[in-house]
Amino acid sequence: MSSDKTTVLIVEDEPEFRLRFKQIVESEPTLELVGVAANKREAQELIDHTRFDVMLIDLGLPDGNGTDLIRQVSAKRPDVDIMVVTVFGDEQHVVSAIEAGATGYILKDSTAADVVSCIRLLRAGGSPVSPVVARSVLRAIRNRMGGSAAGRTGGPMPENNPLSARETEILQLLAKGMSFNEIGEILGISPHTVTAHIKKIYRKLAVHSRGEAVYEATQMGLLRS
């Protein structure tokens, strides 16, 4: 396990895509494949016994939902980047995956270059985001705040908004289709900082959602506080 290579774990049940992702990782010299799982059970085994930097995971696995695994890994190994494999038009699942702890996502039919650049972006401390996902994240946050009027009109977010004003602004610009570069220019920051903001937003969303889950579990008597 050399330190200059990014180790990758793939959890994908469809053989075609599994093979494709495997090939992409294997053909990229900076990446190293450490394991491939076709279902949750296998994935669990690998997670428990293997060290990896990035996990590519499909949510819909034959023996259950991948969200549990995401939550597990993100809690145990905060340094691991979790990348959700998704189909288009599935933004709601992306948001729940982010809430579980994922920091990136990739479309199933992405080109090899897309996959590699996305992994690089993640390792560099950034996160990808599409306008629709940006919008979905904004909505998820608004809904948590009870869909307050201020939130709905897109005006200044209320105080219980976990996001800073800058983060909200970035999300709003992203939702309009602006690129990291363009946003960086507008805000006078580097594109890299913009992606770093996105990752931070994702983490906040996950922490916030965990906090909520703990709160709800306490309420239901599942946990002793």
Binding site: F88, G89, E91, D109, T111, A113, D114, S130, P131, V132, A134, R135, T153, G154, Q172, L173, L174, A175, K176, G177, M178, S179, E182, I186
Partner: protein
């Protein structure tokens, strides 16, 4: 049932009263009678005539005022030790009363200017010292004019004992007419007012009967009268009796189902006969009227009662038990009073009509009250019926409204489905079919097949973006398009500049327009990517509004490529873009300068749908309350 019970209770009370008035005291049963000068004592040689009490005597209306002495003898064993009194239950002419030559009191009697007709009893206390053991003399000096006069039995005895008798008699002869008169006056007022509001024959008859009873009671309560008015008072008595009897006859005829005017006139005329004859004969007809006309009135009512009963029994109608019973009692009471006044009864008694009359009035009022209550009940029933109907309508309106909304929802869903089908057919479907044909012909190599499939997927994503944004947010859909195109531009070495700063946070537009706009932009971008050989492509999105005018969405796609060469200006791709823009009411302009670049400008008016959405929502907030209120108003 309440009126009947009240009626029976009052009947029993009245009967009790009659029985108790029959209580006797120490009574003087004979009198000696001698004419005197007015206001003077009997002459020493006067001729005394003995009579049994009660004593009745008459005089002609033409006769002048005459004096009269009445002497009664009282034998006692020993002089009393407590206060005694003499009770004159009915001494119609009054007079000065002396015991053993000493005056004990005076009851006003007729004089030059006044006529008296005492009906109330008089009680005079006697000093016990005046009475001696053995025979004592009680002398009444009085005066009289024409008419019928009466001295009932005189009672003498201990004050306490005769006092009780006095009170009973006073009640029967004075208080009772007062009560009856007052009651009748109230009835006259109430039913008279009622009649003014509603011209109903039954109400009119009750009001008229009450008026006549007030007059009759007045006659009995007016005991001293100026000389000239005496005949008027007599006429009043006849009017009251005649009128009351006529009204009763009409009531009974109505019970029998006869409501003709002829009967009313005949009864009225017969009732007028008495007073007319009295006035015409200046009082001379009084004995005959009393003897024949008054009983004939009773007969008239009795016959009518019989006729009414017969007719109702024959027609199997309800007998109107309250009215009929009260009427029968009144007829009996009138007959009794008549006999009493004619002196045909052995014992003097109290007039029965004083209580039977008011009782009859109450009985007559009960059907009217019953009917009124019945009408009220019907009105209340109608009201609650109306209310329940209004409630039903309310429910129906609500149901209709729900159905309407449901229909609108379904229509919207159907429209959405139609749109999706149309999109799939026009876009993805056509593309896949034509690609399939090309592949089957072997016209495409592997790279071209991948390209065709990629384009199909692009189109599908476009459709999904357009649909997935449930609230038809154009902005995010456009943003996603850019996000997807970006890597391709990067791969081709073309810079894609996206300026959405002039856009609001969210832009909701007509859902039908989302996909066409996305296609136009995608087509423009694809054209620039494939054909322009540009170094940079810039997309600018802007929503502008001047004043109150409709906001306008402007999308510009500009490249710095070679421009569109000649024949391609009218190419299929551009034609498609134009037709799409036209279908949704947008405008597409294309400027191309060879060597400099191409500029596509798409303009679309927004507000129609933007505000249209809110208008639809307010229309849906249908004000059912107002509709129900209007319905209520219409119904009442």
């Amino acid at each position: 049932m309440l009126p009947l019970r009240a009626f029976l209770a009052s009947l029993a009370a009245a009967a009790l009263l009659v029985v108790s008035t029959a209580a006797s005291a120490v009574a003087l049963r004979s009198v000696a009678w001698a004419p005197t000068a007015v206001g003077a004592e009997a002459a020493a040689d006067a001729q005394w005539h003995s009579f049994d009490l009660p004593l009745r005597w008459t005089a002609s209306p033409d006769d002048p005022l005459k004096g009269l002495a009445l002497r009664l003898r009282l034998a006692i064993d020993a002089p009393p030790t407590q206060a005694w009194a003499v009770l004159l239950p009915h001494a119609s002419t009054g007079g000065r009363i002396s015991v053993n030559g000493r005056m004990v009191g005076e009851v006003r009697s007729a004089d030059a200017a006044t006529e008296v007709r005492w009906r109330r009893p008089h009680l005079l206390a006697i000093d016990p010292a005046l009475l001696a053991a053995g025979e004592n003399t009680i002398l009444i000096q009085t005066a009289y004019r024409g008419g019928l006069h009466l001295l009932d039995r005189v009672e003498v005895g201990p004050l306490a004992e005769v006092g009780r008798a006095y009170e009973r008699q006073f009640f029967a002869s004075s208080v009772l007419p007062w009560i009856g008169g007052t009651l009748a006056a109230c009835f006259a007022l109430i039913f008279g007012l009622l009649w003014l509001r509603r011209h109903d024959a039954t109400i009119a008859l009750v009001a008229l009967a009450s008026v006549f009873w007030v007059l009759r009671s007045a006659f009995f309560l007016i005991e001293t009268v100026p000389l000239g008015a005496a005949i008027g008072l007599d006429a009043l008595f006849y009017v009251a009796n005649g009128g009351f009897a006529a009204v009763m006859t009409l009531v009974l005829l109505r019970l029998a189902g006869r409501t003709g005017k002829r009967e009313a006139w005949l009864a009225g005329l017969y009732a007028a006969l008495g007073p007319v004859l009295l006035l015409a004969t200046a009082g001379h007809a009084v004995p005959y009227l009393d003897l024949f006309w008054l009983p004939s009135l009773i007969g008239m009512v009795a016959v009518s009662l019989f006729y009414a009963l017969l007719s109702r029994v024959r027609k199997h109608e309800s007998l109107q038990i309250v009215v009929v019973t009260a009427m029968a009692i009144a007829v009996a009471a009138a007959a009794y009073d008549f006999c009493l006044m004619q002196g045909w009864l052995p014992e003097a008694g109290m007039l029965a009509l004083h209580w039977a009359g008011p009782l009859l009035l109450v009985a007559l009022a009960t059907p009217v009250v019953d009917r009124f209550v019945g009408v009220l009940r019907v009105a209340e029933g109608a009201r609650s019926d109306l209310e329940s109907r209004v409630r039903e309508r309310e429910q129906m309106l609500k149901r209709n409204y729900e159905r309407l909304r449901e229909g609108e929802r379904m229509q919207a869903t159907a429209a959405e489905r139609q749109r999706i089908m149309q999109d799939m057919h026009d876009g993805l479907g056509t593309q896949l079919v034509s690609s399939l044909m090309l592949v089957e012909r072997g016209a495409l190599n592997q790279a071209q097949v991948a390209q065709v499939l990629r384009e199909s997927i692009d189109d599908m994503r476009l459709a999904i973006d357009a649909l997935a944004q449930g609230n038809s947010d154009l902005l995010a859909a456009l943003g996603n398009l850019r996000y997807r195109m970006e890597p391709r531009f990067r791969a081709a070495g073309i810079e894609l500049i996206w300026d959405a700063r002039g856009m609001p946070e969210e832009l909701n537009i007509n859902p039908d327009a989302v996909l066409p706009i996305l296609r136009i932009v995608q087509e423009s971008l694809t054209n620039a990517l494939k054909h322009s050989e540009a170094r940079a492509v810039s997309v600018s999105l802007q929503v502008t509004q001047t004043g109150d005018e409709t906001p306008v969405l402007t999308i510009r796609v500009t490249d710095n490529g070679k421009g569109i060469v000649g024949e391609r200006v009218g190419g299929r791709g551009l034609l498609n873009m134009r037709s799409r823009a036209g279908k949704i009411g947008g405008a597409l302009t294309l400027e191309s300068v060879p060597g400099t670049g191409t500029r596509v400008k798409f303009v679309y008016k927004l507000a129609e749908y933007h505000t249209g959405l809110t208008r639809t929502q307010t229309q849906l907030g249908l004000n059912t309350e107002a509709i129900i209120e209007r319905f209520r108003e219409g119904a009442s």
